[in-house]
């Protein structure tokens, strides 16, 4: 599904530069649920951004679903993001003047789907996250958990191969966090490949594999016994 080898990335800071990723090797199989852990500054978010094609590596190979991701034009990156990837962010990143349904339908709009079709599909995904009754509410009228569920519906709308989550529970309380995690686990059960950045141990333990980063290198990569989130709800 995903192969990364000898990935390097550094950011210029004034005259010097900060070497954030120092040769990352990582491969993820289809259906996996991986947590990337590390303290702040360990490079975990940078890694996720490169995987998400929001950022580009300085050197190294990145192959996604058999496709080499390198030197993409903006346009191509946009098409790949739309086709392969679904994003879930810590701060939800919903567009505040669009209602839940319109937010979910947005990736479909960029796929060029017809209005009626994409609204039906968006509605289907909203139903799946249990928010069909909230379809016409604006983000500000939703709770944090509901917002994140809209964001998940939006990430799923374009039926991506890989779901990328950057601290998906970072802005939520424990109960809501567990609800969201239960939902993400359910998606994984259905076969979705999920990559998640987190710094919370209990959230990481709800994944099937934990990759630990420190100072830009992988220091630990272990498969774990998945803790089901339903137990906590």
């Amino acid at each position: 599904m995903l192969q990364i080898s000898q990935l390097h990335k550094s950011y210029p800071i004034g005259d010097s530069s900060l070497h954030v990723l120092k040769g990352i090797d990582l491969s993820v199989e289809e259906g996996e649920m991986v947590a990337i852990m590390g303290s702040s500054g360990s490079g975990k978010s940078t890694l996720l951004n490169i995987i998400g094609m929001l950022d580009e590596a300085d050197s190294g190979d990145y192959i996604l679903d058999g496709l080499k991701i390198k030197d993409l034009t903006e346009k191509k990156a946009a098409v790949y993001r739309n086709k392969f990837l679904g994003f879930i962010f810590q701060s939800f990143n919903l567009i505040n003047y669009k209602n839940a349904l319109e937010n979910v339908a947005l990736p479909l709009y960029y796929q060029g789907m017809k209005r009626k079709e994409r609204q039906e599909l968006a509605m289907y995904h909203l139903e799946k996250v249990g928010l069909a009754n909230w379809a016409h509410h604006l983000p500000k009228e939703l709770s944090g958990g509901q917002k994140q569920r809209v964001a998940i519906a939006r990430a799923l709308a374009a039926n991506p191969k890989l779901l990328l989550a950057d601290e998906p529970t970072g802005a939520l309380d424990t109960v809501t966090s567990h609800e969201i995690m239960a939902f993400i686990q359910q998606l994984n059960d259905e076969g979705k490949t999920i990559l998640m950045v987190t710094h919370e141990e209990d959230i990481a333990n709800m994944c099937k594999r934990i990759v630990r980063l420190r100072d830009g290198v992988i220091i630990e990569d272990t498969k774990v016994e998945q803790v089901r989130a339903e137990q906590h709800v």
Partner: protein, 410 residues
Amino acid sequence: MFDLDLWREIFQSINKNRTRSLLSGFTVAFAILLFTILFGIANGLKNTFKEEFADTATNAIFVMSGRTTVANEGYQAGRQIQFKNEDYEYIKEEFKDKIEFITSVVMRNANASYRNEKNSYNLVGVYPDYQFVEKNEIIEGRYINKNDLDNETKVIVIGRLVEEDLFINESAIGKYINLNGIQYKVVGIFMDEGGDNEERIIYMPITTAQRVYGNNDYVNRINLTYSPDLNYDEALGFSSLLTRKLKTRFSVATTDQRAIRVFNMAEGTQQVDQMTLGLTVIILVIGFGTLIAGIVGISNIMIFIVRERTKEIGIRKALGATPRSIISIILIESILITTIAGYVGLLIGVGVLELVVGDKLEVYFITNPGVSYSLLIGATLTLIIAGAIAGYLPAKRASEIKPIVALRND
């Protein structure tokens, strides 16, 4: 290609951010409003200038005579120079390749009466060419013609206001007016843009006038228009040559300023043309200044909008928006706001000119202020282009936003 969804996106964005859109629109509307009013008032000024000179052809030359002030060739000073028919024939023959229309003129005063209405008018005996030199427009009937001249017929052409004065609720055509005891048939009615005095004149065939008033071949002045092919310098050269030849013909000293006077309208026209040109340049400079201020205004607001929407643009890009789709949204939004707001400004401006200003400023030399349709179409195109220019930089900036930077912008 018409993309309904794109427009839906844009309208949603404008509609959901009403204050912002109104604010940016206001700048443009105000700039265009100012531009329209300035332009209209300047047009009014131009119209006034034009009208002042509209009653006579701009290529007219008037030849007048007076008493000599300098003794010459054995003649004493104080001799009255009198033009006659032969002088008219002489000028007509001598300069036939340079003259467009020519007429000699006999001027008298006449007490006119029709039934119980009486009034005093200027009476002018003319050739048919006079109509074109004075730019008279026949609104009913006909002008003096060659047949009238040959037969010395007792017909007259009267000004619009003469008809209004003497004929209460009836048409003057075919009626007879009594001028100093002789009955003349009214064959035509004319109008003149030169004002009321120019429409209180009675014309008759010059031959009739000469027969009735003195039975001689005297003429008071000779009016002509030079050929439109002559340029400004040639026209001035023509009138000075004419002056010289006439002075020789009448044995008048070349230094004599009063005996023979030739007034060339080209001199006045040139001045007016220069004044109008200067005025036009000033209007254009001010107008474009306001317009550019408006464009800079929108551009600034659009840049602000892009900054404000950085995160949204980042989200859209993460979801698969191509740079082109981002540019379209910002650019079209900018053009739309500019065009609509600009048009509102334009409509208000035209409304102010038509309804509020109207004819009230005629005392201040502003006649019929307004803007032409071609200007309106030009302004519309300019607005669209202005919107595109104003939106381009911000749109480009928006398309270059890196989603990763935008999303970090919490």
